[in-house]
Structures are given as structure tokens and as C-alpha cells.
Assembly symmetry: C2
Homo-oligomer: 350 residues x 2
Amino acid sequence: MRKTYSSLGAESLNLILIGFGNVGRALARILWEKIDRLRGLGLSINVTGIFKSNGGFVDSNGLMLGEILEKSEQHKSWVPGASPLSHIEELPCDVVVEMTPTNVRNGEPGVSFIRKALEEGKDVVTSNKGPLVVSMKSLLSLAERKGCFLLYEATVGAAIPIFTVAREFLRHDRIICVEGILNGTTNYILSRMSEDKVSFDDALREAQEMGYAEADPTYDVEGIDAACKLVILANGLMNMDKHLSDVEIEGISRVTPEMIELAEEDGYLVKHVAYLDGEKMEVAPRLVPKNSPLAVGGTFNVITLNTELSGPLTFIGKGAGPRETASAILADIITIAKKRGGIKSGEHVA
Amino acid sequence: MRKTYSSLGAESLNLILIGFGNVGRALARILWEKIDRLRGLGLSINVTGIFKSNGGFVDSNGLMLGEILEKSEQHKSWVPGASPLSHIEELPCDVVVEMTPTNVRNGEPGVSFIRKALEEGKDVVTSNKGPLVVSMKSLLSLAERKGCFLLYEATVGAAIPIFTVAREFLRHDRIICVEGILNGTTNYILSRMSEDKVSFDDALREAQEMGYAEADPTYDVEGIDAACKLVILANGLMNMDKHLSDVEIEGISRVTPEMIELAEEDGYLVKHVAYLDGEKMEVAPRLVPKNSPLAVGGTFNVITLNTELSGPLTFIGKGAGPRETASAILADIITIAKKRGGIKSGEHVA
């Protein structure tokens, strides 16, 4: 096992951020805005490197996050062409935060960054589904061999604390099956079709105009994004070794207003439901009773864990959003700081 | 701080259970049924005492739970008149589990049992709202002074892990306000009135027949039970020092089918909503949009935390039930065992 804490003294946790898009910037902003609150928890965070695809901000004494957010590449700490792979070794670093774009074909460049960080004995927090969809088991094994943490709360449902609950609350229990609505765009489209009788094409166009859906909506609408999250849930909650090819996927593009109307006459809604148990993994349009916990509209994500002892437990939250995603990343960072003994855990007052 | 672990060896955690009604019996059954699963976590639990109002089962080497569940007071470990107050000192004991009936007037006998346990340096887990409604702050202060844990996840929403999430996931965030449906009986009654056009009186009678409501339903129907839980949420989540008298309470007995119908025409449901922010605490019938996370039917409980960074997070679960309540108690016991270092925490594989 490695040392408990950083090279800058027992009170400081050194981070390297990889990826500086919406989520990376939101995280930097929160770390900067919440510096006093974090110090109140006994946690002083230094960010020693922030890397983009074309270079990085580097300062082994800790970057000035406010300045960097304002000046971007004009800031004096900017090093064109700097690569995280070499700097993970060189910079003071306790935790590597991996936030590069999702690539579900081969997980790159995230897989390489995470592997390098773990090989160097760094703890890792990621919001990137790609590496986990492609090689979750082998990355978790590597983390375990190295005595490192690899946490990924932000990958599914943004700030929905599903893995935290499994780890901290359900260790004695058994998760029998998982049901969820794991993609906010399809939930928005189906909600609009149901509540306001809008056609699929119009609802999709609207979602694109409002920034919920990409110009190429296939990834959301055909269920691939939801299936990726289901793979991470299967491996993370039920200790499986699943991949995208294990999921039966049906998108929502064939759902018609007539189907929705028929369902509603019988008290049901049409929802794009991801389902997982010991035998089956499936993403498909399904009928959901109107008063069920899954019958939530808008862009919300929903996850229900059906457990042996605790009954059904449902979690609803914004499934996307830079700030919500960054919040989940910061929660994972604090978890690591607590487990490494660098922060008082304050259980007495919950 | 006291020793890390029990007098029976580093691998054993000694419990005393106070209260052996539905919840106490469910906990004993789970501890007995799940012995192998708990050992798999590195946790071996001995129950050295189980106390009822008229005596207790006592064995300092660990009680045979299966036999006691079957034979009850015929079991050889039964000691008529035995009191937990003296046995907390005498028996091997790491954690006292307090499960006596709720008394919201003065919190007794729970307050005395919890106080005694903390004074003796024992960690405490409780499912009893009474002591927390009456004197939560002073009990938490006592726990802190003694370096002991006082956990109470089971008191609100049974197995809904609301305090676990606040402690393990939201330490960096700020809870702005809390909304919830905290009583399953009133939710059942309003759901029946709405979905099946049943009258209040008929729905209440039905709830009584199905065992959801007591013969005297005042405590549920007039909102007192929900208000008690709101007090515990205020103190536990927002670090307040509130009591039952701080809550404005309006029950559901004046809700009419006509009100419900009018609301539905505009896309709303009538729900019995508990609300809490920095200034106000209230339990009252309120209009909730049909597609809102609060619009859940049946006997479910719902809690929404509106947070600064993580967005709105909603948690839904069975708000009552012996097994669900016992499951939350066991989760608290495991939390204590982990924090005391008596169990490996297994974060690497979540």
C-alpha cells in the first residue's frame, strides 16, 4: 500500500484533471468556489495539472483555478503539447480525475490514462463511461492489485449516488434486479409525446434545440448510451463482467403516438426502460404503471434497485449536466480522502 | 476514544438488542439467516442480550437466535425481569440497538436506554423516532463527547438511505430544502381516493383492514408521524435543533374527492407533503404535478433533497415494514463496524 497522503503535507490532496470540457470546467469551478467549505471538512485540494488534448496547465505548487477558468490558454501555466501520461509520474498527484470524452469502441484515450495512473499507484475517479464499458473488470483488478481506488459514481445518472449506496448501505443485502431510465433525452422525448401529444420527430427536434440531444441523436435514441450505463451497473452493482454486446437493445424511434395513447387508456406510460438481473440485460420501450416510481417525466433519470431485504429502492435525479456530474466526481474524491484518512468523517452528526 | 473492537476478539461485534417486537424480531431473523454473508464481509456478530419490557434473553457467549425466535420465553436464556440498563454494563457489548416503541411526548424508555449506552461508551443504532424527536441534539452531543456513534437511518423512510447519502455523498454540497411524503398510510389513502375514487372514510377503513393504519389513525392521518420524521431530517440533514412544536401540521382528513378531482383536471395530484428549508417546517396537503418525482402512489415514502450542486435528488422506498427497517439497522451496524476498522470496506469493487 502506498503512503496515506500527498507530498505537499498531510493536509493537502493533489489532483490531476484530464479533460477540460464542460465537466472538467465545472469541477474546476466547484473546487475553486467551495474551497472554504472543503477546508471546513479538513480537506485542502491542490490541482497540479489540467490536461486537454492539445496541452496542459501545469504547476507543481497548485494551479490558480480562478485565473485558468478566466484566461484559458493565455494563462502562464499553459504548456502546449504537454501530455498527462508523462506528468502523472512527474507532478505531485494523489488522485487522477479522468474526464475525457466517451468512446465506447475501445475506451481510448481514457483507458490509457486510467491504466497509467493506477500503474503509478494513483487513485482514480472517472466520469467517462468508455473505459468501463470496454474493460471495467480488468481496470478494477488492476486497481485492487495496486491498492488503489477506482471510483466512477458520475458515469451513471450524474449525481444519483447509486454506487455510494451499494457500497455504504447495501453490503449485507442482495440486489435481485435493476430497472431504470438511464437516458434523459429519450425520457424527454417520450414525456413530450405523452403529455403534449407531440410527434417523435418534433420532440426530437425540440430536444436538439434545447441542447438535450446531439446533432446525431443515434447514441441516445437507439439506446446505446443507456446500454453503456447498464453495463456499468451490472459490473459495479452485481459484480458481473459484462460488455455492450451482452445487452439486447431496442431504441424508441418506432414508438408512435398511437402506442402511447393505447397504453394511457389502460393506466400505463411508455418509457425507455433498462433492465438487468442475473440472466438478462435489456434496453427497450416498456409499459410502466402511471403511479410507479419509474413514471417520472422530463429529462430525469431513474434507477430502481429491487433488493432482498431493503425492498425496492428508487433513485431519481438529473441524469446529466456538468455541475451535477462534477458534484458526483467531487463526492468520489472526498470518499477517497476519507478512506485514506485525510479527512475527518464526522459520522456523529451524520 | 475507546478500543476498536469487542472483548470477544477482533473478529466479533457484540450487540445488545432492546425491543423485540416486529422490528427486533426481523433483525434477529436477518442476523441469523445472513450469518454467512456477514462473515463473507469479515463480520461475525454475537448478540449477547435481547430485552423486552418484561425481561430478556441473556448469554455473554452469544445467543442462539434461531432457537429464541422459535421458543421465545421458553428458551433457556430467558431471564424474567432482566433490565437492559444493568446489562449494558455487564454484558460484552459494542453496539446497543434500540428498538422500543415510539413515544413522542418524552421519548421514554428509548432516551434512557440510549443515554445509558452512550455514557458507557457503546455505539448506538436506533429505529426509534421518540428519543430523536425529543432530544436529538443533546443525544448527538453526548455521542460526540464519548467518541461514540449514534446512527438512526431506520427512523425515516425505513430502508431509504437518506442519512447515509448525506454522510457519504453530500458532504461538499448544501441541502437547500427537503420535500417528502413521509407517511405510507396517508399516501395510500390519498392514492386510493385519487386512482379509484374511494371516499376518505372508505380508504381509511381499507388501510386499517390491510394493516397499514392503526386502530387509532390520528398519529398518521393528522400528520404527526410525518412531522416527527421531518424533525429528524431537519436535525440530521441540516444540523438544526428542531422539535415537534416547530412544525406546522395539517392532516388529510379534510381532503375531499372534489378537491382531488379539481386538481387532476389541471394535471396535479393531492399529496401529503412534508417541507423543510432554513426557515419553515410544514406538513400539509399540497398539489404536486402528475409527472413529478413526488407523484408516487401506494404506501411508498418519497424524499427529495434539493441541493446546490447535485440538483434535486429523490429517494423512494417502502416507508415501513419490519424487514426493511431491520435492513437499515443492519446497514448502520455495518457502517459502525467499518468505521471502527473491524471490517474490510471493499471499495475497489464498489
